[in-house]
């Protein structure tokens, strides 16, 4: 009658297996970095990663060798430039080849909505005059039965597991998300299992009416991980560490530097609190 509240280690160990399709959503905001790091610590591999904007979290998972496929729509370091580990995987197949399924944002959103709605596909007036359909056989079309108009389609996204980070859960496991919500709800409801990490667990969510609350009975597990979105941010808790995003450009530029960073700060720490301590020791 309520959602199990687990440690992040337990939640990942229990619910995420090698070879699964996995979505970590959160559009710039509330990116579940702690969960990404725990996947690296537990050595998950052959994951098919799904995310509109891979961001640093997937650059890390890809560089650490956890992924064999990526479905995405914009793969840069926002406001900074390239994701070097993603590029190295695509351009040089390091540390392993990465099969890409590439969409536009509008199409990814439609695919998540279709998944959440238990429809086999989503549709959009999209991809007109672009080369994307030539490189993604999943992009097809239907003809409107009223107007004859041809409309693009994308197959529904149904991740095995979606992981989200949110501000708060209550003790039953109801989750409140505030701020930029991206396609978090859709990705969460499209998945077979939904894991949510939160900044804190409270007695009363105090969510204003009509805001985004995920009821506990659609959440498979909650883990309390303060700072779990860092270096992304949690509206009302801490800001985006734009300086870290800029610094990542150098950290991830070459394989050795990246691997040393992951070994020291992720594989070399036991959990997210350890990661945060380790990162702070560098900054000081």
């Amino acid at each position: 009658m309520s959602t199990p509240i687990l440690s992040l280690r337990e939640a990942i160990a229990t619910h995420v297996a090698d070879g699964q399709t996995l979505a970590l959503e959160g559009f710039t905001h509330l990116i579940p970095f702690a969960a990404g790091h725990e996947l690296i610590r537990q050595g998950r591999k052959d994951l098919h990663l799904i995310r509109m904007t891979p961001d640093l979290v997937y650059d890390q998972l890809i560089g650490a060798g956890c992924a064999s496929a990526l479905t995405f729509s914009w793969g840069g370091n926002p406001g900074v430039g390239s994701l070097h580990r993603l590029r190295d995987a695509v351009e040089n197949h390091w540390p392993r080849p990465l099969r890409l399924t590439e969409h536009s944002h509008a199409a990814m959103a439609a695919a998540y909505v279709a998944g959440a709605s238990n429809l086999p596909f989503g549709m959009l007036k999209g991809y007109l005059g672009t080369d994307l359909p030539a490189h993604n056989p999943g992009i097809r079309s239907i003809t409107c039965p009223y107007t004859g108009e041809v409309i693009a389609t994308v197959p529904a996204l149904r991740p095995d597991v979606t992981i989200l980070h949110a501000q708060r859960a209550d003790r039953q496991g109801n989750v409140h998300i505030r701020g930029i919500v991206g396609a978090m709800k859709e990705a969460g409801m499209a998945a077979t299992k939904l894991i949510v990490t939160v900044e804190e667990i409270v007695d009363d969510l105090e969510a204003p009416m009509n805001t985004l609350v995920l009821p506990h009975w659609i959440v498979s597990a909650v883990a309390c991980v303060p700072g779990g979105a860092y270096p992304s941010y949690a509206q009302g808790y801490y800001a985006r560490d734009n300086a870290f995003y800029q610094a990542w450009d150098d950290i991830a530029r070459d394989r050795e530097g990246f691997t040393a960073w992951i070994d020291r700060h992720v594989r070399g720490t036991g959990d997210h609190a350890g990661f945060l301590r380790s990162i702070r020791s560098v900054e000081v």
Partner: protein, 264 residues
């Protein structure tokens, strides 16, 4: 060489782009130069410009420029924050956007854009971030403004990949595709301003800046650039424009270098 200019060419380009936005325009903003130009317009001649970022923030009025498309500043200052799927359905595809403000790595003579790969898709020399929101912004915004630096590397005769459509192959092919928007009505660079010719829809240089030349723009274009009979010379950034833009950038630098304190 003449004396150094009292502004940078990036400042000139940003100011020129911002001047195209009218007061009250509903503008779908990309990150980087488009965001700087749109906010400059809002802080100068177009205070009621409505800025929409694809992260779901509608009517946002950031004090500092966001580094990412989803900085908290955008949510804090928005009229409303909606789910991302809704931005692309009710707002963009719904025909509510007057101007889509786009950047790119490459543009061709018909205003088609590449932000996906340099080289072949399956064996790219350079894997770029990808299309993001651009394909449908390019389709549905009533018009788009394109902003990028001009060079033979960015203004190419043939895109390596078409990430989003401008005028397709020109001569009305865009309209025939069923794209609701009117396409790229202006391309603004550090060397001048191009607009589509009536009929062919090929980009034509229609304006330059005081410090740039028609020849320079032609030389920085990978195809034989069409030049309008009369090329306008755009006024330099006004002191007011420069002051607002520099203050915006200074606030932004200050904010982005502020250390983040985690509350534990």
């Amino acid at each position: 060489m003449s004396a150094p200019l009292p502004w940078t060419s990036e400042e000139m380009m940003t100011v020129a782009a911002s001047r195209h936005l009218w007061n009250g325009a509903v503008c779908f903003v990309g990150i980087g130069l488009p965001s700087a130009a749109a906010n400059l317009a809002r802080l100068t001649h177009a205070p009621n410009t409505v800025l929409i970022y694809e992260s779901g923030t509608i009517g946002t009025k950031p004090e500092v420029l966001p580094l990412s498309i989803g900085d908290g500043e955008l949510a804090d200052t928005a009229t409303v924050v909606v789910p991302l799927p809704e931005i692309f359905t009710y707002w963009l595809q719904g025909g509510r956007i007057d101007v889509g403000f786009l950047g790119a790595a490459q543009v061709d003579r018909f205003g088609n854009l590449n932000s996906t790969v340099i080289g072949p898709y399956d064996q790219p020399r350079t894997r770029l971030p990808g299309a993001g929101g651009a394909p449908e912004i390019a389709t549905h915004a009533k018009q788009t403004f394109v902003v990028l630096k001009q060079s033979a590397r960015s203004f190419v005769p043939q895109l390596d990949f078409r990430s989003s459509g401008g005028f397709f192959e020109g001569n009305g092919s865009r309209a025939r595709s069923g794209s609701p928007g009117r396409g790229p009505q202006v391309v603004i660079t550090d060397l001048g301003v191009m607009k589509p010719q009536a009929g062919t829809e090929e980009l034509e240089l229609v304006a330059r800046y005081e410090h740039t030349s028609v020849e320079g723009a032609v030389a920085a274009t990978g195809w034989p650039l069409q030049v309008a009979e009369r090329v306008e010379v755009l006024p330099a950034p006004s002191p007011g424009e420069l002051e607002v833009l520099r203050a915006l950038h200074a606030r932004t630098r200050e904010a982005h270098s502020r250390p983040v304190l985690l509350p534990f």
